[in-house]
């Protein structure tokens, strides 16, 4: 049983003109076994939240804490956070030319597990996980994300989730850019992982359609850089019906 606690998190993006605050006091606690959907309009700061937790260099945390079982991950380097059990499936996975997917996956698994996986087992493990996600074997020898379609990139993010076995997974708009079949395959990948592991999930999304495949225990509406409403599945239904307008107004009113 593990806990991820986000406490009064303020963060901004670092530009040449200085830092611009985007997150304005985020509070959220996620326990293993729970799936929290974070839903919000464009520009509400959802992706900033994911990057700030993962430690992206362009974002600066100005105050607050992110505690993983009581330890502040904000004091850790990016790689340490991953080794501590955090995983971020990115909205825009990065291309790394000349580094093969197989080399990358093995390096990452070695780092996260603390020792190199036994080669024979590893090859089988990767092959099995790739098959589940409908990823063809040739991808192992291709450069990381290079020339992958949007859907292929997302499948590989979930492949990494399955192989790196984090305690907490943040899925940042994993559903964006996916067609119906790809959305189903990717969602099944996530569901299989959560069913077989004691993991907490923060599912960041703009649309409700992924929630038909991945069922959240909690739904939070994110607007103006903070959570403005929390509830269960019914909140997503309300958003599906009425959109974000009411919540944006609520966030604006709070900001005044």
């Amino acid at each position: 049983m593990a806990t991820l606690e986000i406490k009064d998190l303020h963060a901004g993006v670092v530009t040449d003109e200085g830092s611009k605050e985007i997150l304005k006091g985020v509070n959220l606690t996620i326990r293993s076994g729970e799936t929290h959907a974070i839903m919000g309009p464009n520009g509400s700061g959802k992706s900033t939240l994911s990057y700030a937790i993962a430690g992206h260099p362009k974002y600066e945390v100005t105050s607050g804490e992110v505690l993983l079982d009581g330890e502040n991950v904000l004091d850790m380097g990016v790689d340490e956070r991953a080794r501590a059990g955090l995983f971020l499936a990115m909205q825009y996975p990065v291309e790394v030319p000349g580094v093969s997917m197989s080399n990358f996956l093995r390096s990452a698994a070695t780092a996260v597990r603390g020792e190199a996986p036994k080669l024979r087992h590893w090859v089988k493990e990767v092959k099995d996980e790739m098959a589940k996600l409908d990823i063809s074997a040739e991808f192992a020898e291709r450069s990381v994300n290079e020339g992958f379609s949007g859907g292929e990139k997302k499948r590989h993010e979930i492949l990494q989730l399955a192989l790196l076995r984090p305690k907490f997974a943040i899925l940042d708009e994993t559903d964006s850019g996916l067609d119906v079949d790809a959305l189903r395959v990717v969602s099944e990948g996530v569901n299989e992982y959560t069913a077989n592991n004691d993991v907490g999930v923060m599912l960041i999304t703009h649309y409700t359609r992924i929630l038909k495949h991945i069922h959240p225990d909690y739904v939070h509406v994110f607007a103006g850089g903070r959570i403005v409403e929390s509830g269960g599945k019914e909140l997503a239904d309300d958003l599906e019906e009425n959109g974000y307008v009411a919540y944006i107004e609520k966030a604006d009113a709070a900001a005044v």
Partner: protein, 391 residues
């Protein structure tokens, strides 16, 4: 026919495609040093070179005060000999096109001549190791590699040691011959090396010319490829790693004067440390007679730290529309923080992530070096360079 052009945003210096005021094909060349004016540094072909660091190679003040040591470890099928200046074969692949090359041609005393006999396939690579004259000394040299018709061989020219050295290197590639050449500049920190390399391809000849520059204070290598007949195919690959204070300059010229020839240029360099400077010039000229030409050139630079500078200038002149394709691309980028973040976010420590990215950057060139010993040595050299900055 397709003509493509790509210039990616450049953070170190603007990469510009320039059609020079005068055609590259009209540049003066001569075996006689006195036929050249002493360059002042503002001339087109000297404007990037720090002239003071040439130690007088360009103005006649550098007299020969030493000699290079040449050791050859040849394949049994390959002949290596030392010949005098008067040997009729010398100069066959090309004429010096700048004053330093002409100075070297005027001043060398003996030449190393490597011959791969006709219709012979060498059973292993031939390594010619050239050791500099020593710190504070100057030497001039000349090397000619002859691949006779339908010969097949791989030759490694390995430059090591200290001192100041100017030379001409000729590759005379006979009809249908296939030659792979690796010229490694792995000099000590004090070395200055200015080299003009003349690549002369016969009909249907294939040449893979690989330049690797790692060491030296100033290294300037100018390979020029010319075609004696149709059907020639030249691959020009380069890999360089410039450290603090190092000036590494590669000036390429591919002169397509014969029809149905191919050229493919790929140079990649990494730079790190204050005052590290890399210059890449890629001139390609497709003359009116060179119908059916196919050419592409590409230069990429990876700037690893502040204070390093890369200049990259591709030039493409086309005098006939009847070509298969021609294009060039050039880009210089800083070390990509996004790539580093992505790898680290998967648990990979920063140091290892940096190595993965730099190794990945050079991967496509290393994969095309099909001499395992050389490839392994270069992989190790890149590792050592990365360790030097604690990356």
């Amino acid at each position: 026919m397709t003509v493509t052009e790509e210039n990616t945003a450049n953070t170190a210096s603007a990469a510009e495609a320039v059609v020079p005021a005068t055609s590259r094909g009209e540049r003066f060349s001569s075996y006689d040093v006195e036929a050249f004016e002493v360059p002042g540094g503002r001339e087109e072909n000297w404007r990037f070179t720090p002239m003071k660091r040439l130690r007088g190679l360009h103005d006649g003040s550098a007299a020969a005060t030493g000699e290079v040591k040449v050791d050859a470890e040849a394949a049994p099928e390959v002949r290596v000999e030392t010949v005098g200046r008067d040997d009729a074969r010398l100069g066959e692949a090309g004429t010096p096109s700048d004053r330093v090359a002409a100075q070297a041609y005027s001043a060398f005393t003996g030449a190393t001549l490597v011959t791969v006999p006709k219709e012979t396939k060498a059973s292993k690579p031939t390594v010619v190791r050239i050791t500099g004259p020593g710190e504070g000394r100057t030497a001039f040299g000349h090397v000619q590699v002859r691949a006779e018709r339908f010969a097949e061989a791989a030759i490694v020219l390995d430059h090591v040691g200290s001192g100041t050295y100017a030379d001409n290197v000729e590759f005379v590639i006979g009809d249908g011959a296939q030659l792979t050449v690796v010229s490694v500049q792995d000099w000590a920190d004090d070395a200055v090396h200015v080299s003009e390399q003349h690549l002369r391809l016969g009909r249907d000849a294939t040449l893979k010319h690989i330049v690797v520059t790692l060491g030296g204070d100033l290294v300037r290598v100018s390979p020029t490829a010319t075609f004696a007949g149709p059907g020639g195919d030249v691959d020009m690959l380069g890999l360089y790693f410039a450290d603090t204070g190092q000036h590494q300059e590669h000036r390429l010229f591919v002169d397509h004067e014969a029809p149905h020839c191919k050229s493919n240029v790929l140079y990649k360099g990494a730079l790190q440390g204050d005052g590290a400077h890399a210059v890449w010039i890629g001139d390609v000229l497709i003359r009116a007679a060179a119908e059916g030409t196919e050419t592409f050139e590409l230069n990429r630079n990876l700037v690893l730290t502040e204070g390093a500078r890369a200049d990259s200038v591709p030039n493409l002149e086309i005098e006939t529309g009847e070509i298969e394709g021609a294009g060039h691309a050039s880009a210089t980028g800083r070390f990509d923080d996004e790539q580093l973040f992505y790898l680290q976010s998967r648990g990979i420590a920063e140091e290892q992530a940096r190595r993965l990215v730099v190794r990945g950057f050079f991967h496509e060139i290393l994969m095309r070096i099909d001499i395992p010993e050389v490839r392994e040595r270069l992989e190790n050299a890149i590792e050592a360079e990365l360790q030097a900055i604690g990356a």
